[in-house]
């Protein structure tokens, strides 16, 4: 069983919350769910935004097909016109569209909503109709409505139930149901990518988060603002992104795990401070949720075009780490690693996701709590002898014992100027020797970090004829594609910088035909692999118009590629 349901209507008319109700219906039944929304940078209007819910009885990784859906719920005429042809079954307001035929289920949505008490409940009528179509008991809905509207009073819940029942009965009487059955399991948590990151941060002991709102990173701020204070986390809405990251660096210097989050535009403003963190060797985690660029670009649409920027922000050479979680579940654990690496090596760590990742929701399985082991690195909390203490002591790994304010004897000035082991500025004179050893000390950390980096993981059976080379969230649709097609596997990069060279080279050399799949124009992973490994991935499939890849589209693209090879 694998169904996709697309709800479409005007932005601002509750498409998303209705979609969430549908998604929660399935997650509460213990099924696997994945959701995706496509919308515009406008608060109200846009008549055909959509929210897609995919449900399955086996593990799924993406939103499913793009060009065909099983059920369309069209909440207005435009939505009907836009998507009816791709749907097996369409539920729509019979007052909007006068059409009959196979798979067309006209329901007087507005009329029923009015009858139940208010026209805004038209979406609930449609959900009731969907329940009938899928043969789901309305008692599941009642629980969800109670959660959503419970604090508004029992009357609202009752009215909504009445609305749903009208939709339900209408379909039951006039159309009957689809032939599907849903195995039941215990309810599963349903979380978005942004929530996975924020939860990961909470579980990792992050105690400070500062950010300036920007799609698609804002949901982290919202979530942490609500949950953080319960666990001693200070959450600040800063005056801009420059302030946000500098606050995080200050908090981290004071001894707590700290992070900031933004999208490309905000991260552009943060560059100088990323260099500061690297120079003063203060750990900081930056959540970078990409969206379409350049400039304001596509504010509400996805892209993966900030990979190279995240590896090379700011002036000068310095160590930085870039991790791009590949699935929402992976997001939870990647954040735990990000905080550990940041503290162990006293470096900035980027957690690189995108709008598709942050805004999609999925059900997750059992959490492996053992993967949240906190490793604080060389953190000194007991008194030291000031005359002897050197904050930037030269060590084999390049990592020096770090004191934090409050530790007697550990006083030092962390400076953005080049400095000596003690932390004194050397820039009032020419000190090439000190500069060399300090530069080498910082850069040396990369060699040790590299050993902790995980090689690309192989998804699917080894020895497949074609290997799709991907990174970050594109892994999600690609994994679904590999699962449902013959002859393909995927090499998935999560740890992007520094690359574990030998292992990555080996993995790439074991692949027969390689095709890079990326959501950007230039093929930034291809460029990175060429730069870091000298490997050329000759073939690439890219898109840069604000959509993630979808499993059906991948099938078509790959078919065309194979044909092209046959011809030449």
């Amino acid at each position: 069983m694998d169904l996709t349901i697309r709800l479409s209507g005007a932005q601002g008319e509750g498409v998303e919350s209705t979609g969430r109700t549908v998604a929660s219906t399935f997650s509460r039944m213990g099924l696997h769910v994945f959701t995706f929304r496509m919308y515009g940078s406008i608060i109200k209007g846009n008549p055909t935004m959509f929210y897609q819910v995919r449900v399955s009885d086996r593990k799924i990784h993406s939103h499913g097909p793009w060009n065909s859906v099983d059920v369309l719920i069209a909440l207005n005429k435009n939505a009907f016109a836009a998507y009816v042809d791709m749907a097996r079954v369409t539920i729509f307001d019979s007052a909007d569209v006068k059409r009959e035929g196979r798979g067309l289920i006209g329901v007087p949505l507005t009329e029923y909503a009015l009858k139940a008490g208010n026209r805004i409940m038209k979406n609930t009528v449609a959900v009731g109709a969907l329940y009938a179509l899928l043969g789901i008991d309305l008692s599941v809905l009642e629980g969800l409505l109670r959660r959503e509207f419970g604090d508004k009073g029992e009357k609202i819940v009752e009215q909504n139930m009445a609305a749903a029942e009208l939709g339900y009965k209408h379909v039951e009487e006039h159309y009957g149901g689809l032939n599907v059955s849903f195995p039941r399991d215990s309810p599963k948590p349903l979380i978005s990518g942004a929530e996975a990151l924020a939860l990961g941060a909470l579980f990792s002991g992050m105690k400070f988060y500062a950010a300036y709102p920007m799609t698609p990173a804002s949901p982290l701020l919202h979530f942490l603002a609500e949950w953080g204070p319960r666990y001693g986390v200070s959450v600040v809405q800063a005056e801009d992104e420059i302030a946000a990251i500098n606050m995080a660096i200050g908090a981290s210097y004071a001894g707590v795990r700290a992070a900031t989050g933004t999208s490309g535009g905000g991260f552009s403003l943060m560059h100088e401070a990323v260099g500061l963190a690297a120079m003063i060797e203060v750990p900081v985690v930056v959540f970078l949720g990409q969206r379409g660029g350049p400039s304001t670009g596509l504010p509400t649409e996805t892209e993966q075009a900030d990979l190279l920027m995240s590896i090379n922000p700011s002036q000068g050479d310095f160590p930085i780490v870039v991790l791009a979680p590949t699935t929402i579940e992976d997001g939870l654990y990647t954040v735990a690693r990000a905080f550990n690496i940041a503290e162990k090596y006293q470096v900035p760590v980027m957690v690189l996701t995108d709008l598709y990742f942050n805004e999609s929701m999925t059900t997750i399985g059992e959490v492996d709590w053992s993967r949240f082991k906190v490793e604080r690195g060389d953190l000194v909390t007991s008194p030291v002898v000031w005359e002897e203490y050197k904050r930037y002591r030269l060590t084999e790994t390049g990592v020096s014992p770090r004191t934090v304010p409050g530790v007697p004897g550990g006083m030092h000035i962390a400076t953005s100027d080049e400095h000596d082991e003690k932390g004194d500025v050397i820039t009032d004179r020419h000190e090439p020797k000190v500069r060399r050893v300090m530069m080498e000390k910082r850069m040396r950390k990369l060699d040790y970090i590299r050993r902790e980096m995980e090689p690309p993981s192989l998804y699917g059976s080894p020895g497949a004829r074609t290997t799709l080379v991907v990174w970050g969230s594109t892994a999600m649709p690609v994994m679904d594609f590999v699962d449902t097609s013959q002859g393909y596997n995927a090499l998935i990069f999560r740890d992007l910088y520094p690359l574990p060279r030998d292992q990555a080279l080996k993995a790439l050399s074991e692949a027969a035909r390689k095709i890079a799949v990326e959501v950007n124009y230039t093929g930034q992973l291809v460029a990175l692999l060429r730069r870091e490994l000298g490997v050329d991935i000759g073939e690439r499939v890219v898109k840069y118009w604000g959509e993630p890849f979808s499993v059906d589209e991948l099938g078509e693209l790959m078919r065309k590629r194979v044909e092209a090879v046959v011809v030449t």
């Binding site: 002991g205 302030a243 500098n246 004071a254 001894g255 304010p405 409050g406 007697p408 000035i413 500025v425």
Partner: protein
Amino acid sequence: MTVKIEVRKPAEYAVARPPIWCPGCGDYGILDALRRALAELGIPNERVVVVSGIGCSSQLPHFMKTYGIHGIHGRALPIATGVKLANPDLTVIVMGGDGDGYAIGTNHLVHAARRNVDITYIVSNNQVYGLTTGQMAPTTLKGVKTRSTPYGSVDDPVNPLALAIASGATYVARGFSGDPAHLAGLIKGGIEHRGFALIDVLSPCVTFNRVNTYDWFKARVYKLEESGHDPADLMQAMAKALEWPTMDPYGRIPIGVIYRAERPTYDGEMSRLLKGASPAASPIDNALSEGPTILKSFI
């Protein structure tokens, strides 16, 4: 009558390395005053964090035996805000130049003031860019020739004190580095004050500012505490703040506490949200140990 005991000596906050400022630079007076203020308050070295931006004046933390961050140009206030919020028990001092605070960092000044975060911000106002060798500063008086204004500046100067009061700062003062004892009192008052304190210091740059010299200031400064000023009166305070340079750039210059008010601090409000916990003092694994329960709310 209480007898004032000097708990510690200013030298206890000094490092062996002498400052690297030009001889006669106003910043020596600020350094001296800051050490005196800390000594009088007897704050342990390890509980003090001195944060700065970039500029001649921002070198100051390097001459202090305390914790500190010599950060990036204009960003000292957000860095310091992070330090203070993470561990509100620390005494956080910020030091920077007028370019650092009133040009590139103005945004942060406005917001740190409005939040009333409990830090003490000392600005070395030398009315010129020292470190970058003598360009116009946002405090340079109109008509003054600098390396970037060879025909005389056509910009009107900013009024940092009026700006700070309007932004919500709760302790606003002006000092003169030619009078370190008086300045030490102002800094001490700023540290003791709970809330955002701005102490703008007339601090001559003897190398690049040939107009606003020690003598120039000596001829103009007068002490507010000797002139019946009431710092609790907002309107009086605003009038005093506007006196120089806005009303008369070549007129008399009030020094002392211009404005003082009581208002909840940002760190205090944050601590209220955190039910008394502070990030530095709360257990690192408190959310993890409730992980399974937290996840239940996503069902």
